[in-house]
């Protein structure tokens, strides 16, 4: 709670300091559900004339029998590498229409990253470890981010103009859209409704997990 309060003070300070410029504006979006921050929410920001960030290879790691990160937003056409940081093999697959692929049993990093050229949501699974679940959000939005544990994502160097915001979370059936105007200030709170939790943690009692942890 103390930490949260300090952040809020900081956030407020940031918003107050934000200059009303046509470029180089900043927006902090905070996603909440029932007043609680929502982590791992994908937030897209569109502004006419806003250039996309320079693309870089995104990484969807498999670590401790989890996909890491849980949700990974990527720009359409961007390659995503699937390194395996565990000491067991994984069999990553996606039956999603956006991108069907299958990385048969492997360890280490596959030679070729997977390119997601169509926008949409790709649900990732592991054929060996049923609980493993991950999402890749393929978007054509110039700016996107994932909320941190505080439910916030920060956009910098955006235009001080009206922006359309889209928020999506695996627990949300459909994405939520919102609009932002610079007059609204540099902070935007987006309350959302979440569905039932999506389990993606390895079973607590699994000895595989403890074994791998010990190994590391």
């Amino acid at each position: 709670m103390k930490v949260l309060a300090r952040q809020r003070v900081l956030l407020t300070t940031i918003i107050m300091m934000a200059p009303l410029a046509s470029a180089g504006a900043e927006l902090a979006v905070r996603v909440t559900a029932g007043g609680e921050p929502v982590a791992n929410a994908v937030v897209l920001l569109r502004q006419p004339g806003l250039a996309a960030d320079a693309g870089s290879t995104a990484v969807m790691d498999q670590k401790n029998y989890r996909f890491e990160p849980f949700v990974l937003p990527v720009a359409a056409g961007a390659p995503v590498s699937f390194p395996n940081s565990d000491n067991v093999r994984h069999h990553v697959y996606s039956f999603s229409p956006t991108k069907r692929f299958e990385l048969r049993l492997y360890s280490g990093t596959p030679s070729e990253p997977v390119v997601f050229d169509r926008t949409g949501i790709v649900t990732l699974g592991c054929n060996i470890h049923d609980w493993m679940l991950g999402f890749i959000y393929v978007t054509d939005a110039p700016r996107f981010g994932v909320t941190d544990a505080g439910g916030s994502v920060r956009f910098t160097d955006i235009r001080a103009a009206a922006a359309s915001i889209v928020v999506w979370h695996p627990r949300m059936g459909t994405a939520k859209e919102a609009n932002w105007n610079p007059s609204d200030g540099g902070a935007l709170e987006l309350p959302v409704e979440l569905g039932p939790p999506v389990r993606h943690d390895p079973p607590e009692e699994t000895h595989i997990s403890s074994f791998s942890r010990r190994k590391r």
Binding site: F95, T123, G125, N127, D130, W131, L133
Partner: protein, 777 residues
């Protein structure tokens, strides 16, 4: 053989045992049957749990299988394609692997994506509740109807890796399943549903039972979870219907667990048979015990009955052997003692019954018996037997004057002398009172008369009794058998008659004469009739006037009693007065005479006649101490002056007990009643006695008067009697005056009064009054 006691005891024993056994049998049967049924009920409930457990374990198994299918990467890949033919082929392929009969794929909204069913299923999933359950729990199962069969459905999700679809697998609950249930539970098991074409789907019951169950489907399903008795395939089953699925999952499916009642009751039947066997043995044993027990009682009782029967017949010789120490033994002992006691008392009683206690002589009963024996002997031998009937003269006077103790001693002395006077073979018996009987064996009339004389002489010897010397006289009647009779009754009666004859003739001994008997009977009849005569007005009075010879006037009249007997006609006093005296009826006659006579006298007096009435009193009347009083009362009642009544008493009556007679006469005289001595001249009275008699008149006996002639011997007697009377201050009456000459002689002798046919025969009261009036004028 079996007496009623025995039979009753056996019946009671057997009935009691049978009753107890029946109650036990019924109670045990009811309890056992209830227990057996309850046990079957419990078994059925256990069976239900077994079925449910079986279904649950199948669900686990089938769900696991379904999960394996749903997790198969290839299958998931096929589902993920969204291509129906691919999905269908994958479904068919994979479901065959795990033996599912039907498989479906549903999308997350429950829409059918693919099916292996031959018939194309409708788009909507028919068990939304199952789906909802699966959404909550991740998986679900139920029993449901699919097409014409009953299936177990399991629904599991397909993950890719998020849930993308549902796989529904159906496994038929077929004969293998029902057979497995039967194997596990030992019960018949049937799957049924009311929505099926046939009510039952699978059953372990033999063919044909299905229709029976279908008929009773409504009743069965109405009481779900309740055991009921159901007829099927000609057997009765304890049936437990229970639902296999929830109502939410479409058409209901039921399982029917059944135990044949027969097999359920098998142990009960065995118990019943055992009970029946035990009951049979118990009844047989009871019967045997009852017969033995009753025999041990009834056998000695029969012996006692036998002895008692003999005792009742007078046989006291049989003793009951006393073998036992129990109550029956004591009873037998008591019987023996009773028997001895009865025998002893019977001997005593017999002796008392046959002997006279005073003299120890045989009594009338034994005498009769001996006489019968003697008669029998006479019949046998042609011999003769004599019977002597003895009666003491004037024994009553001894008793009255000297007292009964003296009388008893006299009787004892007489008994002794009689006993001493006969042979030992002869019988001496006391018949009662002063009457004795002697039976002389082998005696003819002559020897009997000789013996009688001897006995009379022996008894007439004076005897010393209580400081007084007494002399008695006896009268003896003799009869001889067979001359005078051949039966005891006749002989005794005739001996009695002969004895009376002897008494009357003062002859001491008399032999029965033919004809005595009839007179005797006549007397008996008269005595019997006499009582009735007084009451029936058969007695009446006639009056004979007494004429004053001096004045020729009539102032006296004598009442003479007559008896108008219904059979013998008119009887004179001589014919019945002695009988009345002997039979104790004279008082009746006397009273009748006095009352009638006074009634008539009253009439005459009322009619102006100046007469006095004479009535005759008997010697017996003089004994009655109350007579003077009664006569006075009779006079007073009719208002007749005492001097108008004259009492006539015969000289012999007075002389029988002169002292008492004098006293009685004195009392009559005190009351003013006239007294007259009747029949004077026949009673041997002495002048001394005559002098003491307080009488007024003297009546000369008619035997001296009838045919009286001057200068005859009677004339002397009459003349001197008249003079004697006059000299003693008495008036003299002569009766029996029938001739004028007699009257003249009497008048010449100064006789005061005369009566007789010369003046008038005895007349009725009315005739006398008529005669009186004519005579006066």
């Amino acid at each position: 053989m079996i007496g009623s006691f025995q039979a009753r005891l056996a019946v009671v024993f057997v009935a009691l045992t049978a009753g107890a056994l029946l109650v036990t049998f019924l109670a045990v049967s009811a309890t056992t049957r209830g227990g057996v049924i309850d046990t079957a009920r419990e078994e059925l409930k256990v069976g239900q749990r077994v079925v449910e457990q079986l279904l649950t374990s199948r669900v686990r198994q089938l769900t696991d299988s379904a999960n394996v299918l749903a997790d198969d990467f290839g299958f998931r890949e096929a589902v993920a394609t969204g291509d129906a033919p691919t999905m269908r082929s994958a479904l068919a392929n994979h479901s065959r692997r795990i033996g599912a009969n039907v498989a479906l794929i549903l999308d997350l909204d429950g829409r059918l994506l693919a099916s292996t069913a031959a018939r194309p299923a409708s788009a909507a999933f028919p068990w939304p509740a199952l789906l909802a359950q699966a959404e909550g729990a991740g998986e679900a199962a139920t029993v449901a109807i699919l097409g014409d069969g009953i299936y177990q459905l399991v629904i599991v999700p397909v993950h890719a890796p998020l849930r993308v679809a549902w796989v529904v697998l159906a496994f038929a609950l077929d004969d293998d399943f029902t057979a497995a249930v039967k194997r596990l539970t030992g019960m018949e098991f049937t799957l049924a549903s009311p929505v099926l074409g046939e009510f039952t789907a699978n059953s372990t019951l033999p063919g044909g039972a299905s229709e029976d169950l279908e008929r009773q489907a409504d009743a069965l399903l109405a009481s779900e979870g309740i055991v009921q008795e159901i007829e099927a395939a000609n057997l009765t089953f304890l049936t437990m219907p229970f639902a296999l699925n929830g109502r939410a999952n479409g058409a209901p499916v039921y399982g029917l667990l059944q135990i044949p009642l027969g097999s359920a009751l098998q142990p009960y039947r065995e118990l019943q048979l055992q009970l029946l066997a035990i009951a049979g043995i118990a009844l047989f044993a009871t019967l045997a015990v009852a017969i033995l027990l009753s025999n041990s009682v009834s056998q000695p009782v029969r012996e006692l009955v036998n002895v008692a029967g003999r005792i009742s017949l007078g046989d006291y010789s049989l003793r009951i052997p006393v073998k036992r120490k129990d109550e029956l033994g004591k009873l037998a002992d008591a019987f023996n003692r009773m028997q001895e006691g009865i025998a002893e008392r019977e001997r005593k009683i017999l002796f008392q019954a046959q002997h006279d206690t005073l003299t120890g002589l045989p009594n009338r009963v034994l005498a009769n018996d001996r006489l019968e024996q003697a008669i029998a002997r006479v019949r046998r031998t042609g011999d003769s037997v004599a019977v002597l009937m003895l009666d003491m003269d004037r024994f009553k006077e001894i008793n009255d004057t000297l007292g009964h103790p003296v009388g008893d001693d006299v009787l004892r002395e007489v008994a002794t002398r009689l006993r001493e006077g006969v042979r030992a073979t002869d019988t001496v018996a006391r018949l009662g009172g002063d009457e004795f009987l002697v039976i002389l064996d082998s005696a003819d009339l002559d020897s009997a008369m000789e013996k009688a004389g001897e006995i009379a002489a022996r008894l007439s010897q004076s005897m010393q009794v209580h400081n007084s010397r007494l002399q008695i006289s006896i009268s003896i009647g003799i009869v001889v058998c067979p001359a005078h009779g051949t039966d005891a009754e006749t002989l005794l009666r005739r001996a009695d008659i002969a004895m009376y004859g002897a008494k009357q003739s003062r002859a001491t001994v008399a032999v029965y004469q033919d004809g005595y008997d009839e007179r005797y009977l006549h007397r008996l009849n008269l005595i019997a009739d006499l009582k009735a005569a007084a009451e029936n007005d058969e007695l009446f009075l006639e009056y004979q006037p007494k004429v004053d010879l001096d004045s020729g006037e009539v102032h006296h009249v004598e009442a003479l009693v007559r008896w108008q007997h219904p059979r013998y006609g008119r009887m004179m006093p001589d014919a019945f007065i002695p009988l009345a005296e002997q039979s104790g009826n004279i008082a009746l006659v006397t009273r009748c005479v006095i009352e009638r006579g006074l009634d008539n006298l009253r009439d005459w007096l009322d009619q102006g006649a100046d007469v006095a009435l004479s009535v005759n009193l008997s010697a017996i009347d003089l004994i009655d101490a109350e007579l003077p009083e009664r006569i006075a009362d009779a006079l007073a009642a009719r208002n007749v002056e005492p001097h108008r009544l004259v009492v006539e008493i015969t000289e012999s009556a007075i002389m029988r007990d002169a002292e008492f007679a004098i006293e009685m006469l004195g009392r009559l005289r005190e009351r003013g009643i006239g007294l007259s001595i009747d029949d004077f001249g026949t009673g041997y009275s002495s002048l001394a006695q005559l002098k003491r008699l307080p009488v007024h008149n003297l009546k000369i006996d008619k035997s001296f008067v009838i045919g009286l002639k001057a200068d005859s011997e009677d004339a002397v007697i009459v003349k001197s009697t008249i003079e004697l009377g006059h000299n003693m201050g008495l008036s003299v009456i002569a009766e029996g005056v029938e001739a004028e000459e007699t009257r003249n002689i009497l008048a010449q002798y100064h006789c005061d009064l005369a009566q007789g046919y010369l003046f008038s025969q005895p007349l009725s009261a009315e005739d006398f009054m008529r005669w009186y009036r004519e005579f006066e004028h």
